[in-house]
Amino acid sequence: MFEDSVWANIFRKKEGEKVDILTVLKHIPLFQDLSKKELRQLERILHQRTYKQGEVVFNEGEPGVGMYIIEDGEVQITIGKDRRVLAVLSKGDFFGEMALLLEAPRTASAIASKASILYGFFQPDLFSILETYPRTGNKILLRLSQMIAERLRRSNIENRELREKLQALEAKGK
């Protein structure tokens, strides 16, 4: 399946099933630098949400304020009215982290393709953790910037490759 570098979890680790939320969180790249104590601080802030199969997590175009972590279940990231699937995410994956920094409309929709338990981490929570536990907040912020920089780098490479292909096709056409 086509997976683009913005929505696919390129940081996914191939590891066995994990049980508690702290372990799930520890495997989220955004939180991997946090100690157990810091993870517990974070867990107290996260919002646990339950979704039925087929329930919309968020719609493309809606203002977004944060990211979701999949504790259990499966979420499809889709685009357009015909709901073209960009990525299928499962346990331990996360999506929507760009909204933590940028209060902009969602660029794709997220739909729970199986009954799912998600953890929401939102911009206000990030600000609150930056205020109350700045060390923890800074670690998250640094990882977030690194991840977005990495995505940008990959997008640039993809962009360059596509442009080269396009040029090659144009040259052939002439």
């Binding site: 919002h47 949400r49 809606e62 203002p63 304020v65 409309p105 206000p124 205020e131």
Partner: protein, 346 residues
């Protein structure tokens, strides 16, 4: 047909539920008031608890430390400030019924009659009015808390509410948010955050501003040897929390007290000048430092909100008018923006 009846029943049930909630709110308004005051205090103290948490204390320990400090301040206040205030109220009541003040009021009446010829005899009768006002005023000072429930119960319940809201408020809000349906969850969270941004700074700023103005007023009035300086200073500080109207009320009261007690023009001018300087200090130094000007509202809207607040909830309503108006404003703007964005996107 069945669907219509079902729908009708649902609407009826909803309206009945709403009426029941309304009835409960009215019936329990005194207790709700205690909770509002408690929640307000907890909200004002929250950044201090967060700061102590940042310094490494647990939330419970941070709340404990704040309460210890508050208890100490309260103890010192009761020890040093409350007895003179009670004395001053007693003196005011005694003096107003005495001959000297009756004489002073008669003088004022004569002065008004002489200079404002179209004022009818019956319009005046200041003595009775002033007496009524003072009885009402001193009653309302002690009645502010006392009339709600008995003063002892209030003094026990408010700290209790503040303690638990300060300690567990965040998880309570989290639990409340968790029952919101998925569809509206993000929007609600965002709204709560925006409202907090708008009114948090304002309320905390107003509180510390009132404290500073109160202390400055007490010092100035004490220095100018104005009688009942503690009472008027405390009132001026509290009144300062009501926008526009408050500062004038404090100053007018002080000038009025001087007028009634000895009528010295010099002292009256000095008191007015002192309040003008305090307002200047407030506007130039205190407000820019402590009051986050996050509530951006037109002065007319502020005045309107204050009047409406006063109509519904008296003094507390006047204090709360601006933040409540700010909440409504944020709510309307955010919901409007959200719909605009959603409509633009599709």
């Amino acid at each position: 047909m069945d669907i219509t009846i079902n729908r009708f029943l649902k609407i009826l049930l909803f309206l009945l539920g709403l009426a029941a909630i309304g009835w409960l709110v009215v019936k329990l308004s005194s207790i709700i008031m205690v909770f509002i005051v408690g929640a307000l205090l907890a909200y004002i103290l929250d950044p201090i608890a967060s700061f102590l948490e940042y310094k490494g204390l647990s939330r419970a320990a941070a709340t404990g430390v704040i309460f210890l400090v508050l208890a100490l301040i309260l103890f010192l206040t009761v020890l040093f400030v409350v007895p003179p205030i009670i004395d001053q109220v007693k003196v005011i009541q005694h003096n107003l019924s005495s001959d000297t003040s009756a004489e002073a009021i008669k003088n004022i009446e004569q002065f008004i009659r002489k200079n404002i010829p179209f004022m009818k005899e019956s319009d005046l009768n200041l003595q009775v009015r002033v007496n009524e006002m003072v009885t009402h005023f001193s009653n309302s000072i002690f009645g502010l808390l006392g009339s709600v429930i008995s003063i002892i119960t209030t003094l026990v319940i408010i700290p209790f509410v503040v303690f638990f809201l300060l300690k567990d408020g965040r998880s309570m809000i989290k639990n409340l948010v968790s029952i919101i349906p998925n569809r509206y969850f993000e929007i609600t969270l965002n709204l709560l955050y925006k409202i907090d941004l708008q009114i948090g700074g304002y309320l905390r700023g107003q509180f510390f501003d009132a404290l500073i103005i109160g202390i400055l007023s007490v010092i100035a009035l004490w220095f100018l040897k104005v009688p009942y300086f503690l009472l008027i200073g405390a009132f001026a500080g509290l009144a300062n929390m009501v926008p526009y109207v408050g500062p004038w009320t404090g100053a007018s009261l002080a000038v009025l007290v001087v007028l009634i007690s000895n009528g010295e023009v010099n002292q009256m001018v000095m008191v007015a000048l002192a309040f003008a300087i305090i307002q200047l200090i407030d506007n130039v130094l205190v407000q820019p430092l402590v009051v986050a000007r996050s509530v951006k509202m037109h002065p007319l809207l502020v005045i309107f909100a204050v009047i409406v607040g006063g109509q519904f909830y008296g003094i507390l309503g006047m204090f709360l008018a601006v933040p409540v108006a700010a909440i409504i404003k944020v709510f309307v703007i955010e919901v409007y923006n959200m719909y605009k964005k959603v409509n633009l996107a599709f």
